[in-house]
């Protein structure tokens, strides 16, 4: 089957893809632009403006498309044949003007004045004692307040000596007053009591089986609330209840009798 004739017929419908120009066009394919410096034909422009401009545009577009087809083409799925555009060459002016420099904020002004610089702290610091780089905070860090130390000195309570010194210095009013007005003697007593309790319960059995010392109060902490058994001794419970009731009635009994006596007296009179 010879289709060349039909092809020829098809081809002749359209204009040629080759376009003659005096000065070849300059292209910036990144912008899909072509720059034509050829002079327009004046007489054609005046006489048959529309047709001339149409054909001129067609020529320019044809050249541009020819140029695009010269680029490396790839086939992309669902889209078709795609050309890779080169980078933009032409310098395009800014859309918006350059941003004005913002005035420094109040903090920035202050920091500048005082010479404060922002110091970014690193996560790891070298711990001299451990001899390695450990996190500044967090897991296995140096910030744990001595939680994992085998020995911690008590540092939160004021030492008794300090309190005593302060108490004696209050007499010479040169020194500033204690914040809380504590009596040094009372403080010492309560402190000692506290230390004794702590020492007492720091045995293996929490001080339960120690021999009691004469004159020492035994049950310092409140005992847990205890209830009697649900199905306890019948007699005991009854007796307990009766005794409570009798106490209440005895308290009230007097009043009732007096009242009744008065009423009866009034009736009789």
């Amino acid at each position: 089957m010879d289709v060349s004739a039909q092809l020829e017929a098809q081809k002749s419908k359209y204009k040629s893809i080759n376009v003659e120009k005096q000065v070849p066009l300059q292209f910036d394919l990144g912008l899909l632009a072509g720059f034509d410096v050829n002079a327009l034909e004046e007489n054609k422009l005046k006489v048959e403006t529309d047709n001339y401009l149409k054909s001129y545009t067609r020529d320019g577009t044809q050249l541009l498309i020819n140029e695009i087809f010269r680029l490396p083409l790839t086939s992309v799925q669902d889209v078709g044949v795609v050309a890779e555009l080169p980078k933009i060459v032409t310098a395009i002016p800014r859309e918006k003007p350059l941003p004005k420099p913002k005035p420094p904020t109040r903090w920035e002004r202050f920091a500048k004045l005082k010479g404060i610089k922002k110091n970014k702290k690193s996560r790891l610091i070298y711990d001299e004692r451990r001899g390695e780089w450990v996190p500044r905070w967090g897991y296995k860090g140096t910030n744990d307040d001595g939680a994992n130390e085998w020995l911690n000195e008590a540092r939160h309570r004021r030492n008794i000596e300090e309190v005593e010194i302060d108490a004696s210095q209050q007499l010479n009013s040169a020194q500033p007053q204690l914040k809380s007005k504590v009596n040094a003697k009372v403080l010492k007593k309560t402190e000692l009591r506290r230390q004794i309790t702590m020492a007492k319960t720091s045995t293996a059995s929490l001080g339960k089986f120690d021999k009691p010392v004469k004159g020492e109060p035994s049950n310092t902490k409140g005992a847990k609330r205890k209830f009697e058994s649900n199905l306890g001794d019948i007699q005991k419970e009854k007796e307990a209840r009766l005794s409570i009731l009798n106490k209440i009635i005895d308290k009230k009994g007097e009043i009732l009798n007096v009242r009744k006596a008065i009423a009866k007296n009034n009736q009789q009179n």
Partner: protein, 180 residues
């Protein structure tokens, strides 16, 4: 479920003696069977010995009620007597108050008792005394507290309150959810 502590028992007995005086003895010391007061979910139950032994085997969450519910302890440990205790209070009542038929309806809806509704009252009732309230046909309707003493009641107007409402049998319908 647990037995009452001393303080709780004292509170309850004081409340009961307000209404039935020293007849509380008959509640504790009974001839037929020993009855106990038990606390369960802040409510006080009056329950016989045999009933108690059976109830012990029911779990705390599963046990809804046992015996007769006398009342409940509020959050601030005050004891509130419920109408369900009426049977026992009516049996041993010391001071009684009878109301006329026209006053019954008002009282059963939860209103206080006015002098106009007052039928009879035991003689020599002091002020702020716990009373059991009966209809004229001797049906116990509820209990309350007198507003004035007997002597003063005579001088009151018909619209003055004679007794404050504490509980009435209408509550069986009104307060179904919270009674037991």
């Amino acid at each position: 479920m647990r037995p009452l502590t001393e303080d709780e028992t004292k509170v309850i007995f004081e409340k009961l003696t307000k209404y039935i005086g020293n007849n509380v003895l008959h509640l504790i010391d009974r001839s037929d069977e020993t009855y106990y007061f038990r606390l369960h979910n802040d409510k006080v139950y009056y329950v016989s010995d045999s009933m108690l032994r059976q109830a012990v085997s029911i779990g705390r969450d599963q046990l809804a009620s046992l015996g007769v519910c006398f009342g409940k302890f509020t959050k601030s440990k005050k004891f509130k007597l419920h109408i369900t205790a009426l049977d026992y209070l009516a049996q041993y009542a010391k001071y009684k108050l009878w109301i006329k038929p026209n006053g019954e309806g008002s009282f059963l809806y939860g209103n206080h008792i006015l002098k106009a509704h007052l039928g009879r009252i035991t003689e020599d009732t002091p002020e702020h005394q716990g009373v059991i309230i009966y209809s004229m046909s001797d049906i116990p309707l509820g209990f309350g507290v007198t507003a004035r003493s007997m002597v003063e009641i005579r001088k009151l107007k018909p619209t003055d309150i004679v007794a404050f409402h504490q509980a009435d049998i209408g509550e069986y319908l009104r307060e179904q959810d919270t009674l037991f």
